[in-house]
Symmetry: C2
Subunit: 518 residues, 2 copies
């Protein structure tokens, strides 16, 4: 055999020879089984409140109810802890599911069965399914790691039509298993684990806990900026600047800014002027703008239509090009709003002004997971390119969409106004998204009790609410809030016929609670 | 407002107050845009050869072919770089796809359409789909983060029937987007990023590059143990022990042992005796045994039936319990073999002897991604519980399965023997999995040329092979190999009618190559 001076382990050779520095004092390490005390502390340090202690208790109560239906003061658990519309009765869009169903079953698309298939489905539905089916060798094959090209073309067209400015390159689109995978890939690229333990990212408070969890896992510092509850959960530039300055003064290398618009959990939507300022702030401070826009089709205020950060950027003169002054990554998902296909796990992220060699690293990360699931990819295509006026399937799609959106709007109004009417509870109307985030003025006596028990007072409140009503909400401490204020997040997703009952149970509990601690 | 002494940012408060140590010399950090030079070096250091430079070149050639079909010495690119059966014409199992199709389309399961649906599908297919549909509020809802309970019950029954010993708790099963997600979760828990930069895991060489990539991303040391090519790619205990000792002497805390059985890329299968020794080795050295068993249904040797590490463990007297001496995590996937549903992204991992509080951390990680995709979960259920004798759908399932397996076996034999007959190429018959991993005695002159160009010689060989034949294979250096030896991995997945042509093109290229460098 030929002896060569260098190792032939392409790529991972670096692991052995470059990144290991054992020094001179190495001693044989002792064997120890895996236990909670010797796990990765970054995992231990991460938390994800949406599925935290309140949900754990809810699952226990669910089991009690199943075993003995009369054992609790309510008949069912109502999960308002998570934006999971179809778990609470929202129906899927027929067209979307029909196309997925057809692409999954090649024989239904075969000529031999076309007569029967045509009895079940419209011609445009079948044509659309055939188009997806023809774009890949099989839905059971790994796709390109950025996703099926046809779907990325559809995303491109959607963004161009939505924004009305500039053009989009499908090579800048990555299809993902929901938006959270895109956030993971982005964070993993930005946070220099080990090399610089002071990397950070600006995250709104309150925030969706995916960001705090991703930060914690990647050893990044979460640099909080507080949304102004008084200003309807507005984003104030002075607050951004002061938090950024403070973090950089402490030696944190702040790499990015997360903006959630429409807001989660706040339901706030940003104005065009505000967004311009945010874009310029990112340029000035060389921050990657991470735009979480997953609620873009769930806006309830007619005077505040959705505007994407990409549109604002292009209108300010920025271009998606190498070395761009603005670096923007936008996230979208099939999980939310009137589509609500959480379980299918589809979504995309779009790069703007990100260098090609950085993109190549993101592609490598996507490659390690091979590709996102194909039904989710197709669902993403259907989300961005639904039937249009003139299509056979359009009337049904239009009616289903309108009915779900109208019902969501009615429930949003009902939940917010019912909560706002409770003593010591302040809840602004929701502009968009799926949540209300009321502030509760918890009685001093109660807060002190909770403090003694070492628990955040709002978590105790949510646990009490759950035990009394079966309603699962998430304490504000899971999202972050100004010290000494207390909130909870509730979705307004219970089916319309149940919303009144849920609100009645909450009202009864809350009044009794306030009396008890008055 | 009530001022409290502690922060109310449950969970992520630790980020601000515990894990940040800025020291006293903090100075304001400079703003710098994201570029290749200031990314996470762990990402830069990871590599994933299955989709590396050879595939990139193949995609370029594909575009050339599309633009000008006569421009190259071959008519098509044949991707033998990745186990992606359906991309090369393998047909999906009809029953499996029919059930997925039905669960995706609630109206096909409705009473109103049942007459038409019954014309397309067997009664047992419809019944199975109804069962999955009834087990969740909707396929569009997030499931439990470990997956649909019914599917986990099916996995439990499958494992118990397969192994014939002991019982399995469905609470120990996690459904995932393919097996790679499970490996990521496991690695992320074991590798103490930042706290102990000398954590490592024993990985076979040659290996599937998912393991080296996961290691690199989690800042873990890949501790190689070499499979013995002379002994048919066997796993030798003495080699394991000596590599473990050497690593521990260097101060590496070796936390786990990866075993891929049947082997990827080697196609080797382990004997029962060998597996017993491996289990005891893990117990003795307190290593988590990570058993990659995704090729368990792809075994070509009748005298070497699949045996799971779980079965061996139970027969050795180990139990899945708190504080167990043996810690085992087994991985399975819907992507491989006669199922081959790579694009659907389904799979599971099973815990054995892992502490509950460690499992709770894995659950938290799964929660951050919410859940794996529901079509993939259902496909996992169908994989572990296919139709059985007596079911209306059984004959078609049996025939499709038998036909695909027989064809895979014929192709495995054909590819291995054709490669083995080439001058300077040594290829053993494949026991299982989807790959051949021939050794090539590359001429000295060629190796020296490649060395001058700074490239692994086998990578240059694979690029030349691609340019001459359109056949995409992966160089051995992407999997690891003994210094001075050269290999490539090829799947034997081209459609049966094309295998002869592919082997002819390879033979012609290789003979000319050997003459040129003789």
């Amino acid at each position: 055999m030929v002896g060569l001076p260098k190792a032939h382990l392409a790529g991972f050779s670096t692991l052995f020879f470059l990144s290991r520095a054992f020094g001179t004092s190495a001693a044989r390490t002792a064997a120890e089984r895996l236990h909670i005390g010797n796990m990765n502390s970054k995992v231990l340090g991460a938390s994800y409140a949406v599925r935290g202690p309140v949900l754990d208790r809810a699952l226990e109560l669910q089991n009690e109810l199943s075993a003995n239906p009369d054992s609790l003061p309510f008949e069912e658990i109502v999960q308002c802890n998570i934006g999971n519309p179809q778990s609470l009765g929202q129906l899927p869009l027929s067209f979307h599911r029909q196309v997925i169903s057809l692409v999954m079953c090649p024989e239904m698309l075969s000529e031999a069965n076309m007569e029967t298939t045509s009895k079940l489905f419209n011609a445009d539905t079948i044509a659309r399914a055939k188009r997806y089916a023809a774009s890949v060798p099989s839905m059971g094959a790994y796709t390109h790691s950025q996703g099926i090209h046809l779907v990325r073309e559809e995303v491109k067209e959607f963004i161009e039509a939505r924004d009305g400015v500039g053009s989009v390159d499908p090579e800048q689109i990555f299809l993902t298993n929901g938006a959270s995978e895109g956030v993971r890939i982005t964070m993993q690229c930005m946070m220099r684990q080990g090399d610089n333990d002071n990397d950070g990212v600006l995250v709104p408070i309150p925030q969706y806990p995916l960001y705090s969890a991703s930060c914690a896992l990647m050893n990044g510092a979460l640099v909080p900026y507080y949304l102004s509850e008084e200003a309807g959960w507005g984003l104030e530039l002075a607050e951004l600047q002061s938090q950024l300055d403070a973090a950089r003064d402490k030696g944190i290398a702040v790499r990015g800014l997360v903006v959630i618009n429409p807001g989660n959990p706040t339901g706030n939507t940003l104005s065009y002027e505000n967004m311009k300022d945010i874009v310029e702030f990112c340029v000035e401070n060389q921050l990657v703008l991470m735009a979480d826009e997953v609620y873009q089709e769930n806006i309830w205020r007619p005077d505040r239509p959705f505007i994407s950060f990409r549109k604002v950027a292009v209108e300010l003169g920025y271009r998606d090009e190498q070395g761009s002054d603005l670096q923007l990554i936008s996230f979208h998902s099939v999980s939310k709003g009137f589509i609500g296909e959480c379980g299918i796990r589809g979504g995309y992220f779009e790069l703007f002004g990100i260098d090609d060699d950085v993109k190549a690293q993101m592609y490598k990360l996507a490659s390690i997971s091979l590709c996102s699931n194909t039904p989710g990819q197709v669902m993403t295509g259907l989300m961005v390119k639904p039937p249009v006026d003139g299509d056979e399937s359009f009337p049904q799609y239009r009616d289903e969409r309108a009915s779900t959106l109208a019902s969501l709007k009615r429930r949003a109004d009902k939940v917010a106004s019912a909560l706002d009417s409770l003593p010591g509870v302040h809840c602004r109307p929701s502009d968009g998204a799926l949540y209300a985030f009321p502030r509760i003025d918890l009685p001093d006596k109660f807060v002190k009790e909770a403090e003694k028990d070492g628990m955040p007072a709002d978590e105790v409140y949510c646990l009490k609410l759950l035990s009394a009503t079966g309603v699962v909400v998430v304490p504000g401490s899971g999202f972050g809030q100004v010290d000494g204020t207390w909130h909870f997040r509730t979705t307004f997703l219970p089916p319309e016929e149940k919303v009144d009952g849920v609100m009645e149970r909450i009202t009864k509990f809350h009044n009794a609670f306030m009396e008890e601690y008055a």
